[in-house]
Protein backbone atom coordinates (compact mmCIF):
# COMPACT_ATOMS: atom_id res chain seq x y z
CA UNK A 1 0.00 0.00 0.00
CA UNK A 2 1.29 3.44 -0.96
CA UNK A 3 1.70 5.96 1.86
CA UNK A 4 -0.75 8.84 1.54
CA UNK A 5 0.44 11.47 -0.91
CA UNK A 6 2.70 9.04 -2.77
CA UNK A 7 0.52 9.20 -5.86
CA UNK A 8 0.86 12.96 -5.95
CA UNK A 9 4.57 12.86 -5.31
CA UNK A 10 5.02 10.46 -8.25
CA UNK A 11 3.96 13.29 -10.53
CA UNK A 12 7.24 15.07 -9.89
CA UNK A 13 9.49 12.00 -9.72
CA UNK A 14 11.55 11.45 -12.86
CA UNK A 15 10.00 8.60 -14.93
CA UNK A 16 7.68 7.47 -12.15
CA UNK A 17 4.71 5.17 -12.77
CA UNK A 18 1.69 6.76 -14.45
CA UNK A 19 -0.99 8.21 -12.16
CA UNK A 20 -3.96 8.80 -14.47
CA UNK A 21 -6.29 10.24 -11.80
CA UNK A 22 -3.80 12.73 -10.43
CA UNK A 23 -2.65 13.65 -13.94
CA UNK A 24 -6.24 14.38 -14.93
CA UNK A 25 -6.76 16.60 -11.90
CA UNK A 26 -3.57 18.46 -12.66
CA UNK A 27 -4.69 19.04 -16.25
CA UNK A 28 -8.08 20.29 -15.12
CA UNK A 29 -6.36 22.48 -12.54
CA UNK A 30 -4.11 24.08 -15.16
CA UNK A 31 -7.11 24.72 -17.37
CA UNK A 32 -9.03 26.34 -14.54
CA UNK A 33 -6.01 28.39 -13.51
CA UNK A 34 -5.78 29.95 -16.98
CA UNK A 35 -9.49 30.68 -16.85
CA UNK A 36 -9.22 32.30 -13.42
CA UNK A 37 -6.22 34.45 -14.35
CA UNK A 38 -8.09 35.53 -17.45
CA UNK A 39 -11.15 36.36 -15.39
CA UNK A 40 -9.19 38.38 -12.84
CA UNK A 41 -7.16 40.31 -15.38
CA UNK A 42 -10.18 41.09 -17.58
CA UNK A 43 -12.55 42.02 -14.77
CA UNK A 44 -10.00 44.18 -12.93
CA UNK A 45 -10.04 46.61 -15.83
CA UNK A 46 -6.24 46.56 -16.15
CA UNK A 47 -6.53 45.70 -19.81
CA UNK A 48 -8.80 47.34 -22.32
CA UNK A 49 -11.79 45.02 -23.09
CA UNK A 50 -11.02 45.44 -26.81
CA UNK A 51 -7.69 43.70 -26.20
CA UNK A 52 -8.89 41.15 -23.68
CA UNK A 53 -12.63 40.73 -23.32
CA UNK A 54 -13.83 39.13 -20.10
CA UNK A 55 -15.00 35.51 -20.04
CA UNK A 56 -18.52 36.78 -19.42
CA UNK A 57 -18.42 38.93 -22.56
CA UNK A 58 -17.19 35.92 -24.54
CA UNK A 59 -20.02 33.77 -23.18
CA UNK A 60 -22.47 36.45 -24.22
CA UNK A 61 -20.89 36.64 -27.66
CA UNK A 62 -21.24 32.87 -27.98
CA UNK A 63 -24.88 33.13 -27.06
CA UNK A 64 -25.38 35.83 -29.70
CA UNK A 65 -23.58 33.79 -32.32
CA UNK A 66 -25.72 30.73 -31.69
CA UNK A 67 -29.05 32.52 -31.38
CA UNK A 68 -28.67 35.32 -33.92
CA UNK A 69 -26.02 34.28 -36.43
CA UNK A 70 -26.84 30.58 -36.94
CA UNK A 71 -23.41 29.69 -35.64
CA UNK A 72 -24.33 26.04 -35.51
CA UNK A 73 -24.53 25.90 -39.31
CA UNK A 74 -21.16 27.68 -39.54
CA UNK A 75 -19.69 25.03 -37.28
CA UNK A 76 -21.40 22.36 -39.33
CA UNK A 77 -19.99 23.61 -42.61
CA UNK A 78 -16.46 23.99 -41.17
CA UNK A 79 -16.52 20.49 -39.75
CA UNK A 80 -17.85 19.18 -43.06
CA UNK A 81 -15.03 20.87 -45.01
CA UNK A 82 -12.39 19.50 -42.66
CA UNK A 83 -13.76 15.98 -42.81
CA UNK A 84 -14.28 16.01 -46.58
CA UNK A 85 -10.67 17.03 -47.14
CA UNK A 86 -9.37 14.74 -44.40
CA UNK A 87 -11.19 11.68 -45.73
CA UNK A 88 -10.15 12.45 -49.30
CA UNK A 89 -6.53 12.65 -48.09
CA UNK A 90 -6.76 9.47 -46.07
CA UNK A 91 -8.48 7.40 -48.74
CA UNK A 92 -5.68 8.09 -51.22
CA UNK A 93 -2.74 8.42 -48.83
CA UNK A 94 -3.27 5.11 -47.03
CA UNK A 95 -3.04 2.78 -50.06
CA UNK A 96 -0.45 4.93 -51.80
CA UNK A 97 1.67 5.26 -48.66
CA UNK A 98 1.61 1.50 -48.16
CA UNK A 99 2.59 0.92 -51.77
CA UNK A 100 5.38 3.49 -51.42
CA UNK A 101 6.76 1.63 -48.43
CA UNK A 102 6.84 -1.63 -50.36
CA UNK A 103 7.78 -0.78 -53.94
CA UNK A 104 10.87 1.23 -54.72
CA UNK A 105 9.52 2.30 -58.10
CA UNK A 106 6.53 3.99 -56.52
CA UNK A 107 8.73 5.81 -54.01
CA UNK A 108 11.07 6.94 -56.78
CA UNK A 109 8.12 8.17 -58.85
CA UNK A 110 6.24 10.07 -56.19
CA UNK A 111 8.69 11.14 -53.53
CA UNK A 112 10.26 14.12 -55.34
CA UNK A 113 6.84 15.50 -56.23
CA UNK A 114 5.53 14.97 -52.73
CA UNK A 115 8.56 16.60 -51.16
CA UNK A 116 8.24 19.56 -53.51
CA UNK A 117 4.59 20.20 -52.72
CA UNK A 118 5.15 19.52 -49.04
CA UNK A 119 7.44 22.51 -48.72
CA UNK A 120 5.07 24.94 -50.42
CA UNK A 121 3.34 27.19 -47.89
CA UNK A 122 -0.33 26.35 -48.22
CA UNK A 123 -1.58 29.98 -48.06
CA UNK A 124 0.51 30.67 -51.17
CA UNK A 125 -1.71 28.23 -53.05
CA UNK A 126 -4.93 30.09 -52.26
CA UNK A 127 -4.82 32.25 -55.41
CA UNK A 128 -4.26 29.17 -57.50
CA UNK A 129 -7.16 27.21 -56.06
CA UNK A 130 -9.36 30.27 -56.53
CA UNK A 131 -8.37 30.60 -60.18
CA UNK A 132 -8.92 26.90 -60.78
CA UNK A 133 -12.04 26.26 -58.77
CA UNK A 134 -13.63 29.61 -57.96
CA UNK A 135 -14.84 30.47 -54.49
CA UNK A 136 -17.08 27.40 -54.08
CA UNK A 137 -16.53 24.50 -51.71
CA UNK A 138 -14.18 22.85 -54.21
CA UNK A 139 -11.40 25.36 -53.75
CA UNK A 140 -11.51 25.22 -49.96
CA UNK A 141 -11.56 21.43 -49.76
CA UNK A 142 -8.79 21.26 -52.34
CA UNK A 143 -6.65 23.64 -50.32
CA UNK A 144 -7.10 21.56 -47.19
CA UNK A 145 -6.42 18.43 -49.17
CA UNK A 146 -3.15 19.79 -50.53
CA UNK A 147 -2.19 20.88 -47.03
CA UNK A 148 -2.68 17.42 -45.54
CA UNK A 149 -2.34 14.79 -48.25
CA UNK A 150 1.33 15.33 -48.96
CA UNK A 151 2.23 15.20 -45.29
CA UNK A 152 -0.01 12.27 -44.51
CA UNK A 153 1.31 10.04 -47.28
CA UNK A 154 4.85 10.30 -45.91
CA UNK A 155 3.65 9.58 -42.38
CA UNK A 156 1.78 6.51 -43.61
CA UNK A 157 4.75 5.27 -45.63
CA UNK A 158 6.90 5.66 -42.52
CA UNK A 159 4.42 3.78 -40.36
CA UNK A 160 4.46 0.96 -42.90
CA UNK A 161 8.26 0.88 -43.02
CA UNK A 162 8.45 0.54 -39.27
CA UNK A 163 6.56 -2.77 -39.26
CA UNK A 164 9.11 -5.40 -38.13
CA UNK A 165 10.67 -7.39 -40.93
CA UNK A 166 9.85 -10.60 -39.03
CA UNK A 167 6.12 -9.97 -39.38
CA UNK A 168 6.41 -9.64 -43.14
CA UNK A 169 8.67 -12.67 -43.45
CA UNK A 170 6.39 -14.71 -41.21
CA UNK A 171 3.48 -13.82 -43.50
CA UNK A 172 5.44 -14.86 -46.55
CA UNK A 173 6.54 -18.19 -45.12
CA UNK A 174 2.92 -18.91 -44.21
CA UNK A 175 2.00 -18.50 -47.85
CA UNK A 176 0.62 -14.94 -48.06
CA UNK A 177 0.62 -13.29 -51.48
CA UNK A 178 1.80 -9.68 -51.81
CA UNK A 179 -1.75 -8.33 -51.56
CA UNK A 180 -2.62 -10.60 -48.65
CA UNK A 181 0.59 -9.53 -46.95
CA UNK A 182 -0.27 -5.84 -47.25
CA UNK A 183 -3.86 -6.33 -46.14
CA UNK A 184 -3.54 -8.97 -43.41
CA UNK A 185 -0.11 -8.23 -41.96
CA UNK A 186 1.27 -4.82 -42.90
CA UNK A 187 -1.95 -2.82 -42.56
CA UNK A 188 -2.91 -4.62 -39.40
CA UNK A 189 0.50 -4.20 -37.80
CA UNK A 190 0.77 -0.50 -38.64
CA UNK A 191 -2.83 0.35 -37.75
CA UNK A 192 -2.23 1.81 -34.26
CA UNK A 193 0.52 4.12 -35.54
CA UNK A 194 -1.57 4.98 -38.55
CA UNK A 195 -4.50 6.09 -36.42
CA UNK A 196 -2.07 8.38 -34.60
CA UNK A 197 -0.81 9.80 -37.88
CA UNK A 198 -4.39 10.44 -38.96
CA UNK A 199 -5.15 12.16 -35.67
CA UNK A 200 -2.21 14.51 -36.11
CA UNK A 201 -3.17 15.26 -39.71
CA UNK A 202 -6.72 16.06 -38.72
CA UNK A 203 -5.31 18.83 -36.52
CA UNK A 204 -3.44 20.35 -39.46
CA UNK A 205 -6.67 20.35 -41.45
CA UNK A 206 -8.09 22.86 -38.99
CA UNK A 207 -5.14 25.19 -39.43
CA UNK A 208 -5.63 25.35 -43.17
CA UNK A 209 -9.39 25.57 -42.83
CA UNK A 210 -9.15 28.91 -41.08
CA UNK A 211 -6.78 30.19 -43.79
CA UNK A 212 -9.23 29.10 -46.49
CA UNK A 213 -12.27 30.51 -44.74
CA UNK A 214 -10.66 33.85 -44.00
CA UNK A 215 -9.49 34.40 -47.54
CA UNK A 216 -12.37 33.12 -49.59
CA UNK A 217 -15.58 32.22 -47.89
CA UNK A 218 -18.96 33.51 -46.78
CA UNK A 219 -19.58 30.84 -44.18
CA UNK A 220 -17.81 28.81 -41.55
CA UNK A 221 -16.07 29.46 -38.24
CA UNK A 222 -13.14 31.20 -39.92
CA UNK A 223 -15.44 33.50 -41.87
CA UNK A 224 -17.36 34.52 -38.74
CA UNK A 225 -14.08 35.06 -36.93
CA UNK A 226 -12.79 37.38 -39.63
CA UNK A 227 -16.09 39.26 -39.94
CA UNK A 228 -16.11 39.88 -36.19
CA UNK A 229 -12.58 41.24 -36.41
CA UNK A 230 -13.61 43.64 -39.16
CA UNK A 231 -16.23 45.14 -36.87
CA UNK A 232 -13.91 45.15 -33.89
CA UNK A 233 -16.01 42.63 -31.95
CA UNK A 234 -13.28 41.02 -29.95
CA UNK A 235 -15.60 38.88 -27.75
CA UNK A 236 -16.81 37.19 -30.95
CA UNK A 237 -13.22 36.73 -32.09
CA UNK A 238 -12.40 35.06 -28.81
CA UNK A 239 -15.53 32.93 -29.03
CA UNK A 240 -14.47 31.80 -32.53
CA UNK A 241 -10.95 30.87 -31.41
CA UNK A 242 -12.25 28.99 -28.41
CA UNK A 243 -14.78 27.12 -30.58
CA UNK A 244 -11.99 25.82 -32.78
CA UNK A 245 -9.96 24.90 -29.73
CA UNK A 246 -12.83 22.98 -28.18
CA UNK A 247 -13.66 21.09 -31.38
CA UNK A 248 -9.99 20.24 -31.81
CA UNK A 249 -9.61 19.06 -28.24
CA UNK A 250 -12.81 17.01 -28.41
CA UNK A 251 -11.93 15.22 -31.65
CA UNK A 252 -8.39 14.57 -30.47
CA UNK A 253 -9.61 13.07 -27.21
CA UNK A 254 -12.26 11.04 -29.06
CA UNK A 255 -9.65 9.49 -31.33
CA UNK A 256 -7.35 8.79 -28.38
CA UNK A 257 -10.25 7.10 -26.64
CA UNK A 258 -10.99 4.94 -29.67
CA UNK A 259 -7.29 4.18 -29.97
CA UNK A 260 -7.28 2.78 -26.45
CA UNK A 261 -10.40 0.72 -27.14
CA UNK A 262 -9.40 -0.67 -30.52
CA UNK A 263 -5.80 -1.41 -29.61
CA UNK A 264 -6.22 -2.84 -26.16
CA UNK A 265 -3.42 -5.28 -26.88
CA UNK A 266 -0.95 -2.39 -26.73
CA UNK A 267 -2.03 -1.04 -23.40
Amino acid sequence: MDPPGAAWRDLIVFRAAPRPRQELWLSIGAFLAVLIVWLIVAESGLVHPQILPSPRAVMAAWWRLFTEAEYISDIGISVARVWAAFLASAVIAIPLGILMSGYRAITALFEPIIDFVRYLPVPALVPLTLIWLGIGEGSKVTLLWIGTFFQLILLIADDARRVPKEFIETGRTLGASDTALMKDVLLRAMLPNMVDSLRITLGWCWTYLIVAEIVASSSGIGYELWTARRYGKSPEVFAGILTIGIIGLASDQAIRFLHRRWFRYLH
Binding site: E169, T170, T173, L174, R188, Y265
Partner: protein
Protein backbone atom coordinates in the same frame (compact mmCIF):
# COMPACT_ATOMS: atom_id res chain seq x y z
CA UNK B 1 16.90 -35.34 -60.38
CA UNK B 2 19.95 -37.48 -59.91
CA UNK B 3 20.44 -36.60 -56.27
CA UNK B 4 17.60 -37.83 -54.11
CA UNK B 5 18.27 -35.66 -51.04
CA UNK B 6 15.25 -33.91 -49.60
CA UNK B 7 17.15 -30.65 -49.24
CA UNK B 8 20.21 -30.09 -51.37
CA UNK B 9 22.42 -27.09 -50.84
CA UNK B 10 24.66 -27.29 -53.89
CA UNK B 11 27.82 -25.18 -54.05
CA UNK B 12 26.02 -22.24 -52.51
CA UNK B 13 27.88 -19.02 -51.78
CA UNK B 14 26.76 -15.67 -50.47
CA UNK B 15 28.38 -12.28 -50.40
CA UNK B 16 27.02 -9.00 -49.16
CA UNK B 17 27.95 -5.57 -50.38
CA UNK B 18 29.07 -3.29 -47.55
CA UNK B 19 27.86 0.33 -47.50
CA UNK B 20 31.28 1.43 -48.81
CA UNK B 21 30.83 -0.83 -51.85
CA UNK B 22 33.31 -3.52 -50.81
CA UNK B 23 32.29 -7.16 -51.14
CA UNK B 24 32.02 -9.24 -47.97
CA UNK B 25 32.06 -12.99 -48.59
CA UNK B 26 29.83 -14.51 -45.90
CA UNK B 27 29.33 -18.05 -47.18
CA UNK B 28 31.98 -19.86 -49.22
CA UNK B 29 30.73 -22.31 -51.80
CA UNK B 30 29.39 -25.09 -49.57
CA UNK B 31 27.23 -28.14 -50.04
CA UNK B 32 24.96 -29.82 -47.54
CA UNK B 33 22.43 -32.58 -48.09
CA UNK B 34 19.58 -33.15 -45.69
CA UNK B 35 17.40 -36.26 -45.73
CA UNK B 36 13.67 -36.19 -45.20
CA UNK B 37 12.80 -36.32 -41.49
CA UNK B 38 16.29 -35.40 -40.39
CA UNK B 39 16.93 -32.92 -37.58
CA UNK B 40 20.01 -30.95 -38.56
CA UNK B 41 21.58 -28.39 -36.25
CA UNK B 42 23.92 -25.63 -37.45
CA UNK B 43 26.52 -24.42 -34.98
CA UNK B 44 29.53 -22.18 -35.38
CA UNK B 45 31.19 -19.01 -34.11
CA UNK B 46 28.83 -16.08 -33.93
CA UNK B 47 28.60 -14.04 -37.11
CA UNK B 48 29.88 -16.94 -39.22
CA UNK B 49 26.88 -17.13 -41.54
CA UNK B 50 24.50 -19.70 -39.99
CA UNK B 51 21.49 -17.43 -40.24
CA UNK B 52 22.40 -16.50 -43.77
CA UNK B 53 22.53 -20.15 -44.89
CA UNK B 54 19.20 -20.84 -43.22
CA UNK B 55 17.59 -17.78 -44.75
CA UNK B 56 18.75 -18.88 -48.18
CA UNK B 57 17.10 -22.26 -47.61
CA UNK B 58 13.94 -20.41 -46.61
CA UNK B 59 14.06 -18.32 -49.77
CA UNK B 60 14.31 -15.14 -47.70
CA UNK B 61 17.76 -14.40 -49.09
CA UNK B 62 19.03 -15.06 -52.61
CA UNK B 63 22.18 -17.07 -53.25
CA UNK B 64 25.19 -15.36 -54.83
CA UNK B 65 26.20 -18.64 -56.46
CA UNK B 66 24.83 -22.15 -56.53
CA UNK B 67 21.31 -23.41 -55.97
CA UNK B 68 19.20 -24.91 -53.24
CA UNK B 69 16.67 -27.64 -53.93
CA UNK B 70 13.82 -28.67 -51.69
CA UNK B 71 12.05 -31.91 -52.59
CA UNK B 72 13.49 -31.67 -56.10
CA UNK B 73 12.35 -28.10 -56.72
CA UNK B 74 14.68 -25.12 -56.84
CA UNK B 75 14.11 -22.65 -54.00
CA UNK B 76 13.10 -19.33 -55.55
CA UNK B 77 11.57 -17.36 -52.71
CA UNK B 78 9.67 -17.78 -49.50
CA UNK B 79 6.48 -19.82 -49.43
CA UNK B 80 4.48 -22.19 -47.29
CA UNK B 81 6.85 -25.11 -47.96
CA UNK B 82 9.50 -23.50 -45.79
CA UNK B 83 8.26 -22.62 -42.32
CA UNK B 84 10.36 -20.23 -40.28
CA UNK B 85 10.58 -19.64 -36.53
CA UNK B 86 12.58 -16.54 -35.63
CA UNK B 87 14.49 -15.77 -32.45
CA UNK B 88 12.64 -12.53 -31.92
CA UNK B 89 9.00 -12.85 -31.06
CA UNK B 90 7.13 -12.81 -34.33
CA UNK B 91 3.63 -13.63 -33.09
CA UNK B 92 1.12 -11.00 -34.13
CA UNK B 93 0.12 -8.88 -31.12
CA UNK B 94 -3.30 -7.99 -32.55
CA UNK B 95 -4.36 -11.65 -32.55
CA UNK B 96 -4.98 -14.04 -29.68
CA UNK B 97 -2.94 -17.18 -29.13
CA UNK B 98 -5.46 -19.23 -31.09
CA UNK B 99 -5.83 -16.44 -33.66
CA UNK B 100 -2.11 -16.60 -34.32
CA UNK B 101 -2.19 -20.36 -34.81
CA UNK B 102 -5.20 -20.00 -37.13
CA UNK B 103 -3.17 -17.52 -39.15
CA UNK B 104 -0.82 -20.37 -40.05
CA UNK B 105 -3.72 -21.97 -41.92
CA UNK B 106 -5.15 -18.80 -43.44
CA UNK B 107 -3.62 -19.25 -46.87
CA UNK B 108 -4.18 -22.99 -47.19
CA UNK B 109 -6.83 -23.69 -49.77
CA UNK B 110 -6.37 -27.45 -49.71
CA UNK B 111 -8.63 -27.90 -46.67
CA UNK B 112 -12.08 -26.80 -45.47
CA UNK B 113 -12.77 -24.19 -42.80
CA UNK B 114 -13.87 -26.89 -40.34
CA UNK B 115 -10.70 -28.81 -40.95
CA UNK B 116 -8.65 -25.65 -40.39
CA UNK B 117 -10.31 -25.06 -37.05
CA UNK B 118 -9.66 -28.65 -36.03
CA UNK B 119 -5.99 -28.43 -37.01
CA UNK B 120 -5.52 -25.08 -35.24
CA UNK B 121 -6.93 -26.52 -32.02
CA UNK B 122 -4.84 -29.65 -32.45
CA UNK B 123 -1.62 -27.64 -32.53
CA UNK B 124 -2.83 -25.36 -29.77
CA UNK B 125 -3.20 -28.46 -27.65
CA UNK B 126 0.06 -29.99 -28.82
CA UNK B 127 2.06 -27.02 -27.52
CA UNK B 128 0.03 -27.04 -24.31
CA UNK B 129 -1.61 -23.65 -24.77
CA UNK B 130 -5.31 -24.64 -24.76
CA UNK B 131 -5.94 -22.82 -21.44
CA UNK B 132 -4.45 -19.68 -22.99
CA UNK B 133 -6.31 -19.83 -26.33
CA UNK B 134 -7.95 -16.42 -25.91
CA UNK B 135 -5.02 -14.57 -24.35
CA UNK B 136 -3.47 -11.77 -26.33
CA UNK B 137 0.22 -12.08 -27.07
CA UNK B 138 1.38 -9.33 -24.73
CA UNK B 139 -0.10 -11.22 -21.78
CA UNK B 140 1.90 -14.43 -22.23
CA UNK B 141 5.56 -15.20 -21.47
CA UNK B 142 8.41 -15.37 -23.95
CA UNK B 143 8.41 -19.17 -23.84
CA UNK B 144 4.71 -19.29 -24.62
CA UNK B 145 5.19 -16.86 -27.49
CA UNK B 146 7.74 -19.16 -29.06
CA UNK B 147 5.33 -22.08 -28.61
CA UNK B 148 2.71 -20.03 -30.44
CA UNK B 149 5.18 -19.37 -33.25
CA UNK B 150 6.07 -23.07 -33.49
CA UNK B 151 2.42 -24.16 -33.48
CA UNK B 152 1.55 -21.57 -36.10
CA UNK B 153 4.37 -22.72 -38.36
CA UNK B 154 3.52 -26.40 -37.96
CA UNK B 155 -0.16 -25.67 -38.70
CA UNK B 156 0.88 -24.37 -42.11
CA UNK B 157 2.27 -27.87 -42.74
CA UNK B 158 5.62 -26.89 -44.28
CA UNK B 159 7.99 -29.42 -45.84
CA UNK B 160 10.79 -28.15 -43.67
CA UNK B 161 10.89 -26.28 -40.37
CA UNK B 162 13.62 -23.65 -40.16
CA UNK B 163 14.38 -22.45 -36.63
CA UNK B 164 16.87 -19.66 -36.01
CA UNK B 165 17.91 -19.69 -32.34
CA UNK B 166 14.25 -19.97 -31.36
CA UNK B 167 15.04 -20.43 -27.66
CA UNK B 168 17.96 -18.00 -27.54
CA UNK B 169 16.05 -15.30 -25.68
CA UNK B 170 14.51 -17.60 -23.05
CA UNK B 171 15.55 -18.31 -19.49
CA UNK B 172 17.18 -21.67 -18.78
CA UNK B 173 14.07 -23.41 -17.42
CA UNK B 174 11.77 -22.32 -20.23
CA UNK B 175 14.43 -23.33 -22.70
CA UNK B 176 14.65 -26.86 -21.25
CA UNK B 177 10.88 -27.24 -21.35
CA UNK B 178 10.73 -26.13 -24.95
CA UNK B 179 13.59 -28.39 -25.94
CA UNK B 180 11.74 -31.40 -24.53
CA UNK B 181 8.51 -30.28 -26.13
CA UNK B 182 10.22 -29.82 -29.47
CA UNK B 183 11.67 -33.34 -29.30
CA UNK B 184 8.19 -34.74 -28.62
CA UNK B 185 6.61 -32.70 -31.39
CA UNK B 186 9.27 -33.72 -33.76
CA UNK B 187 8.87 -37.43 -33.03
CA UNK B 188 5.11 -37.09 -33.56
CA UNK B 189 5.42 -35.11 -36.79
CA UNK B 190 8.54 -36.52 -38.43
CA UNK B 191 9.30 -33.08 -39.79
CA UNK B 192 12.54 -32.20 -41.42
CA UNK B 193 14.12 -29.52 -39.26
CA UNK B 194 17.07 -27.20 -39.65
CA UNK B 195 17.88 -25.57 -36.34
CA UNK B 196 20.46 -22.88 -35.63
CA UNK B 197 21.84 -22.43 -32.13
CA UNK B 198 24.93 -21.19 -30.35
CA UNK B 199 24.20 -23.48 -27.40
CA UNK B 200 26.22 -26.66 -27.90
CA UNK B 201 24.27 -28.65 -25.28
CA UNK B 202 21.08 -27.79 -27.09
CA UNK B 203 22.64 -28.83 -30.38
CA UNK B 204 23.71 -32.26 -29.16
CA UNK B 205 20.45 -32.83 -27.32
CA UNK B 206 18.26 -32.15 -30.34
CA UNK B 207 20.31 -33.13 -33.36
CA UNK B 208 20.43 -36.15 -35.60
CA UNK B 209 23.29 -34.36 -37.23
CA UNK B 210 25.38 -31.38 -36.26
CA UNK B 211 27.02 -29.24 -38.89
CA UNK B 212 29.85 -27.12 -37.55
CA UNK B 213 30.62 -24.03 -39.56
CA UNK B 214 33.97 -22.27 -39.76
CA UNK B 215 34.37 -18.59 -38.97
CA UNK B 216 33.17 -16.24 -41.67
CA UNK B 217 33.13 -16.95 -44.59
CA UNK B 218 31.28 -20.11 -43.60
CA UNK B 219 32.50 -23.52 -44.69
CA UNK B 220 31.49 -26.91 -43.31
CA UNK B 221 34.14 -27.81 -40.72
CA UNK B 222 32.54 -31.00 -39.49
CA UNK B 223 29.42 -33.01 -40.10
CA UNK B 224 28.70 -35.11 -37.03
CA UNK B 225 26.17 -37.93 -37.08
CA UNK B 226 24.85 -37.65 -33.53
CA UNK B 227 22.15 -40.28 -34.01
CA UNK B 228 24.88 -42.84 -34.77
CA UNK B 229 26.02 -42.66 -31.13
CA UNK B 230 23.07 -41.33 -29.18
CA UNK B 231 19.62 -42.94 -28.96
CA UNK B 232 16.82 -41.32 -30.92
CA UNK B 233 14.60 -40.96 -27.89
CA UNK B 234 16.38 -38.60 -25.52
CA UNK B 235 15.67 -36.80 -22.31
CA UNK B 236 17.63 -34.23 -20.36
CA UNK B 237 19.35 -37.11 -18.51
CA UNK B 238 21.42 -37.67 -21.61
CA UNK B 239 23.49 -34.62 -20.69
CA UNK B 240 25.42 -36.84 -18.29
CA UNK B 241 26.29 -39.83 -20.46
CA UNK B 242 29.85 -40.10 -21.81
CA UNK B 243 28.87 -40.26 -25.50
CA UNK B 244 27.00 -36.98 -25.13
CA UNK B 245 29.93 -35.37 -23.37
CA UNK B 246 32.34 -36.51 -26.04
CA UNK B 247 30.35 -35.02 -28.89
CA UNK B 248 29.87 -31.85 -26.92
CA UNK B 249 33.62 -31.61 -26.24
CA UNK B 250 34.49 -32.17 -29.90
CA UNK B 251 32.04 -29.55 -31.14
CA UNK B 252 33.15 -27.00 -28.55
CA UNK B 253 36.80 -27.59 -29.42
CA UNK B 254 36.09 -26.96 -33.09
CA UNK B 255 34.23 -23.72 -32.39
CA UNK B 256 36.82 -22.49 -29.90
CA UNK B 257 39.56 -23.19 -32.36
CA UNK B 258 37.74 -21.16 -35.00
CA UNK B 259 37.22 -18.29 -32.64
CA UNK B 260 40.92 -18.24 -31.75
CA UNK B 261 41.80 -18.33 -35.42
CA UNK B 262 39.41 -15.47 -36.08
CA UNK B 263 40.88 -13.35 -33.29
CA UNK B 264 44.40 -14.03 -34.54
CA UNK B 265 43.39 -12.90 -38.03
CA UNK B 266 42.12 -9.56 -36.75
Amino acid sequence: MANSSFIRIAQVAKEFTAPDGSIIPVVEPLSIDVQEGEFVVFVGPSGCGKTTVMRMVGGLETTSAGDIYLNGKRVEGPNRDKGMVFQSYSSFPWLTVLGNIRFGLKYRDDISADEKERIARHYLDLVGLTPFADYTINRISGGMRQRVAIARTLAANPLVLLMDEPFGALDALSRERLQIQLMDLRRAERKTVIFVTHDVDEAVLLADRIIVFSARPARVLADIAVSATLPEKRSLDILDIPEFRKIRRDVLALIRNEETRMEAAE
